[in-house]
Symmetry: none
Subunit: 195 residues, 4 copies
DNA sequence: CATGAATGAGACTTCATTCAT
DNA sequence: CATGAATGAAGTCTCATTCAT
């Protein structure tokens, strides 16, 4: 008998992504998460403090992953800022392509953590933002990116655009194929809609 | 017949915007909404079917307002497509500037209606989207807007960008002043980040 | 314009019979009764004290009607006790044949008045029972009816049997045609099942 | 695992019989049932789907018990149909003698399940009726029971008679002693009121 | 660590009744 | 008399969390 020891923690958080994606955070039941994870209800509370902690950990894992990728990228000295911007967009799409349920949770449930004021305290979120800032700042410094645009605003501009498109994709994968999304986002972000 | 004193229906929906904004849809209590509206709990149910109906009506009213403004705009023959695009962005910011709570509800709670599949069926949402499409299509036809960009994707790109920025503004009005947001959004949407 | 003046009271009680029959007393809404009676909600309370009063009046009217018929019958000197017993059964069936909804209310909702201890206080209920007793006692005195049977028990025996059959008839008029019910009840009541 | 102390499921349904009997189904509060069962409110919903399910289960248990007894009886080859009829009546009285509250619920609340169309779907109700039919049919076949009486009508005739007498007994046990009821019912059912 | 029966606070919603016009 | 908008008490049910085994 192959024991699941060591995997329960992972099973539970993955199950929670699935269930949060399908029902939304508030209507997601712990009992359903336990069922999907093939684990007893009580076990959820062995590995996670409470329901909100699950959500927090999902985002924390996500930001950590994004942060590590962005770190590697910003330290790369062979790519131009424009190329790095493209890569940043790719990284985003790649992560969510691998896990559509995660995309849905990402776009829909950030709200909950923010209302409870815990969002900013995700260790890796701040680090991730800093890495993104570095790349954009580099572009401005090298006189490649427009300097009349606020870096913070730009960050949330691109971020929100991608987030919304991922949501549309999650709802309707046929009419919003990821490759087309990637291309369009990269183009619009860099050149805008004007010819 | 006991006459309606004041306008309870309007008082209730306005109270619900306030309360939804402050606590989020799920933690918002009907009793609190009634209290803010200065109305008995039962009166909420005289005018609205249930809690979800309140949210639905908030969005329906919003889409109607946006639709009407966009309709006027798209029928205007004196403005260029680029100017119309600017105006569309302005309209968005204007509506939410008037009512910050509405902005918060707008960015945070759309999710709920979508999970219940009622979002798309808002009469005015579809009409609103069509008006936006008309303006963009006009720009493409007149060879002013890039034709390698999917109109649908562009729409959700801009929409998501604005939505996210409004959320930041709602959270932190100091660091995200609306005028700056407007300008940056207009610039980025049209010209992108590249110099 | 023909005014309904003078009919509202009757319209309301008739509507209540219909609505009580369809939904049962507890799930019947005053608003529905008012709607069926084509009357404003408030008017129900002009003519009747409250919801329970409606039920009380339905039964009171019914017992009065039954009492008056039974009184006529028990004073008749031409009929034998057996014939009177038959007539008593006929009277019951006749009244409910005219108004199936009344039959349903009669069989289902007596319970409610009893739980609230108001049943016995219906003026005409006691009078009705007395008349029935007179007829049975007459049969016993004339040595036609069995004297080893308690009159009170016999009364409730027949009463319950008819009540239950009317309920079946109300649920399924095809398989329980009233004429067959009448005949069978008369036969069983008098001669029993043994050959 | 926290073990079931005692038998909560049984405690709850027994408490519900008591409370339904005292207040009637609609005025019976779940909180009161939980209190009588010495159990938390939530525990009621661990074992039963909802309030109506409690009533349904009460009747289902009852019909099962009656069905099993009637089955034993109808398979008995030593008793005559008349003796079996007597036994059927005894079984009824025996069950309710053991549990007067059950008698009250039985006579008063059937109505509720019927209005919701769930009555006929009780598995054991149909089986019970079939057993009763077998006995009566046997009597007709052996030329002991009258063949001009519809078996279905006879069944509901006796059933309703007993039901109503049990109700009187529940309301007033002094004037309606069970033994006298039994004797009178057996006599009337077989021989009727005529001498 | 693992379990899942037990808990109970809390919120939505209903609807009989009122009363100002 | 007639009206029906307004009221608010009250009850069902949910579900995150606990804890004894």
């Amino acid at each position: 008998m192959r024991l699941k020891e060591g995997n329960k923690e992972k099973d539970i958080i993955e199950a929670s992504i699935t269930v949060f994606a399908e029902h939304g955070y508030h209507k997601a039941k712990i009992s359903k998460i336990a069922e999907v994870a093939n684990v007893a209800i009580g076990s959820v509370y062995v590995y996670y403090k409470n329901k909100e902690d699950l959500l927090y950990k999902i985002f924390d894992n996500l930001w950590e992953k994004l942060y590590l990728e962005y770190k590697k990228l910003s330290e790369n000295t062979y790519l131009s800022p424009a190329e790095k911007l493209d890569s940043m967009i790719d990284i985003f799409f790649d992560i969510f392509t691998e896990n559509p349920s995660l995309a849905i949770v990402f776009v829909n449930e950030q709200n909950h953590l923010m209302l409870n004021g815990q969002f900013q305290f995700t260790e890796f979120y701040a680090k991730f933002l800093t890495q993104a800032e570095l790349v954009v700042q580099e572009g401005v410094d090298k006189n490649i990116f427009a300097d009349n645009v606020d870096i913070d605003i730009f960050r949330f501009f691109v971020f929100g655009a991608i987030r919304n498109l991922l949501q549309q994709w999650a709802l309707d994968q046929k009419n919003f194929p990821l490759n087309k999304l990637r291309q369009n986002v990269k183009y619009l972000t860099k050149k805008g809609i004007l010819k």
